[in-house]
């Protein structure tokens, strides 16, 4: 009978970037930023994604048009609050979100956009809406920070893909929603 040693110890998130840097430095993986023209669009989009502010709309190089693969679409709504590792260097986020998206591009990645943290919640009864939340105030509550749209063969497949998104490793949360065809 094996001892009941469970799985609490997890590798630090920066180890991944360290390994990738070494492999790229040794020429064992393609250097960042040299993905070829289609992938550059992905990288550029996700650069904006990570930097925030401007929305970086991107289209996957081999992603089908709507309904192109015949697979259903799912939206990954990325949420973040004060639990998110806001102090993670942006370059690392760029690299990891890009790697994730590029890894999906073969058939499934459709688009992704970063949303500014500035948010104004409006309701029909607001005569004078309150001030929009931004900065620390926005980060103290769970907020929508971006989204991805993917195509997946099934709900289970979409869940499995979403679980690999680096957003989770940095303390973010992902709400997965099927897109209803219209």
């Amino acid at each position: 009978m094996m001892p009941d040693l469970d799985h609490e110890a997890t590798p630090p998130s920066d180890l991944r970037a360290r390994v990738l840097r070494t492999l790229r430095a040794q020429g064992l993986l393609r250097p960042a930023g040299r993905w070829g023209p289609p992938a550059v669009r992905v990288a550029a989009g996700l650069l904006l994604f990570a930097l925030g502010g401007l929305a970086g709309r991107l289209t996957a190089p081999q992603a089908p048009a709507v309904g192109g693969t015949g697979m259903p679409r799912y939206m990954l709504l990325l949420y973040a609050d004060e639990e998110f590792q806001w102090d993670v260097p942006e370059t690392r986020l760029v690299e990891e979100y890009r790697d994730w998206a590029v890894g999906l591009r073969a058939a499934r990645f459709v688009r992704g956009e970063r949303l500014d943290e500035l948010e104004l919640m409006l309701t029909s009864g607001d005569a004078v809406p309150g001030a929009p939340l931004a900065g620390r105030a926005a980060r103290s509550r769970i907020g929508l920070s971006g989204y991805f749209v993917i195509e997946a063969a099934s709900w289970e497949d979409a869940v499995a893909l979403a679980r690999t998104c680096p957003h989770l490793r940095y303390g973010g949360r992902i709400a997965l929603r099927p897109v209803v065809p219209t």
């Binding site: 009978m1 799985h7 630090p12 390994v19 990738l20 064992l28 393609r30 890894g103 497949d157």
Partner: protein
Amino acid sequence: MNDASDRSLAEAVLRDRDAGAFGMLYDRHTPYLYRFALRLLGGDELAAQDVVHDAWVRAVERLGGFEWRSSLRTWLAGIALNFARAARRADARTVELVDDAAPSSDAALDGAYDRVDLERAIAALPIGARQVFVLHDVEGWTHDAIAAALGVNEGTSKSQLSRARALLRARLEPREGVH
């Protein structure tokens, strides 16, 4: 692509130097490798990170020569084991494997211990006993596989396992009476 096999991802890494494919392999196997290294190294987190880093780099360097006779994870674990042993050889506290430890009861630990206590007790084992215990009782390796990996004979592996179990039992025994 997420559900792609290890082999197809490895081929993408080899053929296209595909970082996305490598990232999937990394995410799939690194949690296991890290815990494996952590236990072999007695809980030394920085050393375990170095081992995982070096193991991945070596693995990608040699991926073309991997013949898939074992699973990728087993192969990676073997590489990590070598780096963990090298790390400990460089450590002045290294205790060499011994051949003359008398086997004691071969019964496995019964799992009645607190997991955290058990992790700590494993970390405190002498390096030789710890390696064999982790490989056999935690990872499920056979004695002949351990002997081949560590460069010792099977008798040494068995005696080190008995020694490890005896030390763990002695260390954890006071906890048994506390309920």
